[in-house]
């Protein structure tokens, strides 16, 4: 081993290149690691941190978003991803088409009765840990459509939401702020509050018997997954 290495001994002073000069600097000392970051940590060459903390920092600094459009807000979301606003600058802008590859789902729009079960399914398909940004007033309360017969009164009725970005639609800047807040929160290891989700996917046979269920008994199989909306209890 050692004899092999010796064959490659080179006189470093003989080999010069711009790159090397730039790296080593004119003084010849390699200050590659004497970065600003290093200064901030003090003179020790070691960074002491908990692995958890490190992972949280990493997680917050590299988030994959789910490419998920619902309604009007998704237009502003597209603008947030694209030129000018470019969410990617903050380490959070790679839209993934598959939920299996995504960490964050931005819910950009009105959720209606037919879509809520699908959204829940998409959310379930994302790997842990996963985070949710609710974009627009529709995901907070149903927004301008709150009184609609078919509109779920906010994303939180179906999936837990970490950050709410109000607006109709929120400006791209607002969404960026929301995402940055989420990153900050993840980096600090804060967990989101536990929320009550009134609407769950459950098996049809598990529903409480009542008039509606009786009526639908021959239309829906016992083991079909269903979501039951109790509109009267909605806010």
């Amino acid at each position: 081993m050692s004899s092999e290495q010796e064959r490659f001994v080179t006189d470093t002073s003989q080999v010069g290149s711009d790159t090397r000069d730039a790296r080593i600097g004119a003084s010849g000392t390699d200050n590659r690691f004497n970065s600003k970051l290093r200064e901030a940590f003090g003179s020790s060459p070691f960074i002491l941190t908990k692995f958890d903390r490190f992972m949280e920092w990493v997680r917050g600094s590299s988030m994959f978003m789910l490419q998920f459009g619902i309604a009007c807000c998704s237009i502003e979301m597209m603008h947030t991803y694209a030129v000018k606003h470019d969410l990617d600058r903050f380490g959070a802008g790679v839209p993934r088409a598959s939920p299996r590859q995504a960490d964050v789902i931005i819910v950009p729009g009105t959720i209606v009765s037919k879509f809520a079960p699908r959204m829940k399914r998409v959310y379930d398909q994302m790997p842990e840990p996963k985070f949710v940004v609710g974009m627009g007033s529709c995901t907070i309360s149903g927004g301008p459509f709150q009184e609609g017969y078919n509109v779920v009164k906010g994303a939180e009725e179906v999936i837990p939401v970490d950050i709410h970005v109000p607006g109709c639609p929120p400006r791209p800047e607002a969404l960026i702020y929301g995402v940055a807040k989420l990153q900050e929160r993840i980096a600090n290891g804060e967990s989101s509050p536990v929320t009550v989700k009134p609407y769950e996917l459950e098996q049809f046979s598990d529903l409480d018997q009542d008039e509606v269920v009786d009526k639908l008994a021959d239309e829906i199989d016992e083991d079909d997954l269903v979501m039951r909306y109790n509109w009267a209890d909605s806010p």
Binding site: Q67, F68, G69, I70, A71, C72, S74, I75, E76, M78, H79, A82, V83, K84, P95, A97, P99, G109, T110, V112, S113, K114, F115, A116, P117, R118, M119, K120, R121, V122, P144, F145, E147, G148, Y149, N150, V151, C168, P169, R171, L201, F204, L207, D210, V212, V213, K215, L216, E219, I220, D224, L225, V226, M227, R228, Y229, N230, W231, A232
Partner: protein, 554 residues
């Protein structure tokens, strides 16, 4: 705004007068029920097809614009709003009442293919049954929904159960012999190529599409109900922004403004009309930019430069619109009788901003042509794919760039003029290739035409005398149109004919507010364009239709 069409006795060449129609229909007519926009004829529920066939074949009403269904205290009613592609001001309404206890009416599907979806919607939301309909089931609401939400006795608080079925077991029906080797593919509702929450149930044979069925309703936000709860004066105007939300807000607002102004007989000052025209065309550019960008995205398959270029140009338009209206997307800028405020001060800066944008536009379009329309890859993918012959387009009620890409020369801005369009110099872009490529070209050419219109508007506005800048006419605080007046009015939205039917009942809220969405009709043509074609062509066809789900589902 004139009510010319309400006096249809003005004989014009090619125009069918109410008397002629009455004579033509003979004893099919039970009664007259005229609307502000058109003469209305009441017919029996079992003679719908006879009536419509006669009107289509002998009087030339080849465009079933919209089907409105509603429930009165004592009856249900379906209204078929007919027009002519050659002259959309020539309109007639066929009114079909059905009794409350037995709301069965004959389907219009054999006459106009587009009636299939319109009647399904009527069945879904109002609860009228259509005899002879090929496939009468719910379209917007989940199949297990209880009750019909726009009927009179609907209880909004009753619980509903919605199933999540992964596959509707479609293979079984298709596998008739052992040789058949078809595959079922779900596209959507969460899928990057469906432009929102559209669900396509596709059956493939190898790589070819055997059958495709659109499953819509994933964004049915009850727009009609919400508009029926709002007052005419202020509460309805914010909602049109959210139908076609691809920056087409002002175009949609105009649809409502036009119908309400005609209904309540409100004048709009000329100055406001010019501002409206300018704003609307800016919106059209933004909307078409996104259509082109996402179409390229669909065809090339990734977030490539074209999409970014399109967004870059949209940002410019959005900045101008933000200056004008105060919002980037949901403008809420029109008011009945005008617009909410004047152009921003200093006006010179604002005009300069627009002029800068217009000056850069030819170069930008050149780029698009280089990268998209002149690109061989794109041409291979789009020329002669997704073919939609004009006759088929008409029978599905297709409008907008989809119809114009099939050689149907139909543009309401010219054919049924409103605003300031008839004073300006511009052309209607028509291509007769009938394929995906033509639809793309129409959009790109329309951007040029819109730019022409904007330029002329800016010229006009710059020289407008300062003391004549009236932005709103005098409009009463509450608007109560007369009881039982009905009107259907349409404008040329970004996607085609965006129409609204309103029935007033003497209160300050509409009794029925029905939206005719161009995307809803255009999307219906998808199976015609893609059955038998390859699956990538299906995606390209869908992209070229440029649907927006907020408008399809409303």
């Amino acid at each position: 705004m004139s009510l010319e069409e309400s006096t249809p006795d003005t004989v014009d060449t090619g125009v069918t007068t109410a008397e002629e129609i009455e004579a033509l229909l003979g004893d099919l007519v039970l009664d007259r029920d005229d609307h502000l926009n058109a003469p209305g004829f009441v017919v029996r529920p079992d003679q719908v097809q006879d009536t419509l066939f006669r009107l289509r074949d002998e009087a030339g009403f080849d465009h079933l614009s919209c089907v409105t269904a509603q429930e009165y205290e004592d009856r249900y009613e379906s209204i078929y709003h007919l027009k002519k592609y050659d002259d959309p001001t020539d309109e007639v309404s066929v009114v079909v009442p059905t009794p409350t206890d037995n709301p069965v009416s004959e389907s219009a599907e054999p006459v106009y293919r587009t009636a299939e979806w319109h009647e399904r919607e009527a069945y879904d939301l109002v609860g009228i049954d259509y005899d002879d309909h090929p496939d009468l089931r719910r379209i917007l609401l989940p199949e297990t929904w209880q009750g019909h939400p726009l009927s009179r006795d609907y209880d909004q608080d009753r619980p509903q159960v919605v199933p999540l079925r992964e596959h509707a077991n479609p293979l079984q029906e298709d596998h008739e012999g052992d040789e058949d080797d078809t595959m079922f593919l779900n596209i959507g509702p969460h899928h990057p190529a469906t432009h929102g929450v559209l669900h396509l149930k596709t059956v493939l044979d190898g790589e070819q599409v055997v059958d495709v069925e659109s499953d819509i309703g994933y964004l049915h936000r009850c727009e009609e109900q919400i508009c029926q709860q709002g007052t005419y004066r202020y509460q309805i105007m914010p909602y049109p922004d959210r139908w076609d939300y691809i920056s087409a807000g002002l175009l949609n607002e105009w649809a409502y403004a036009r119908v309400a102004e005609d209904l309540a007989d409100i004048e709009v000052p000329e100055y406001a009309q010019v501002i409206r025209t300018m704003g609307a065309e800016l919106c059209r550019i933004a909307a078409h930019m996104l259509a082109v960008g996402t179409f390229a995205l669909d065809v090339y398959g990734d977030f490539t430069a074209i999409f970014m270029y399109a967004v870059r140009d949209r940002e410019k338009v959005q900045n101008i619109l933000e200056e004008l209206t105060g919002q980037r997307l949901m403008f809420n800028y029109f008011r009945l009788g005008g617009v909410v405020w004047d152009l921003p001060e200093p006006r010179e800066d604002f005009f300069e901003m627009i002029r800068d944008f217009l000056d850069d536009l030819p170069e930008a379009l050149e780029e698009y042509h280089d990268m998209i329309s002149a690109n061989e890859i794109l041409q291979v993918r789009t020329v002669d794919t997704g073919v939609l012959p004009p006759e088929v387009a008409k029978s599905y009620g297709a409008t907008g760039p989809v119809a114009r890409g099939s050689g149907v020369d139909y543009d309401l801005r010219r054919d049924d003029p409103y605003g300031y369009y008839d004073e300006l110099d511009w052309n209607v872009a028509v291509e007769d290739g009938c394929d995906n490529y033509s639809r793309l070209l129409v959009r790109l050419r329309e951007v040029e035409e819109s730019a022409k219109i904007i330029e002329q508007c800016v010229d006009l506005l710059e020289d407008w005398p300062e003391d004549e800048r009236t932005i709103q006419s005098n409009v009463p605080r509450t608007i109560r149109p007369d009881d039982d007046t009905e009107i259907y009015r349409a404008v040329e939205g970004a996607k085609g004919e965006l129409g609204i039917y309103v029935r007033a009942d003497g209160t300050e809220k509409p009794a029925r507010f029905k939206i005719r969405s161009p995307c809803f009709s255009n999307l219906q043509t998808l199976p015609e364009m893609s059955n038998g074609e390859y699956i990538p062509d299906l995606i390209a066809s869908l992209g070229s239709l440029d649907i927006v789900l907020g408008e399809v589902d409303r």
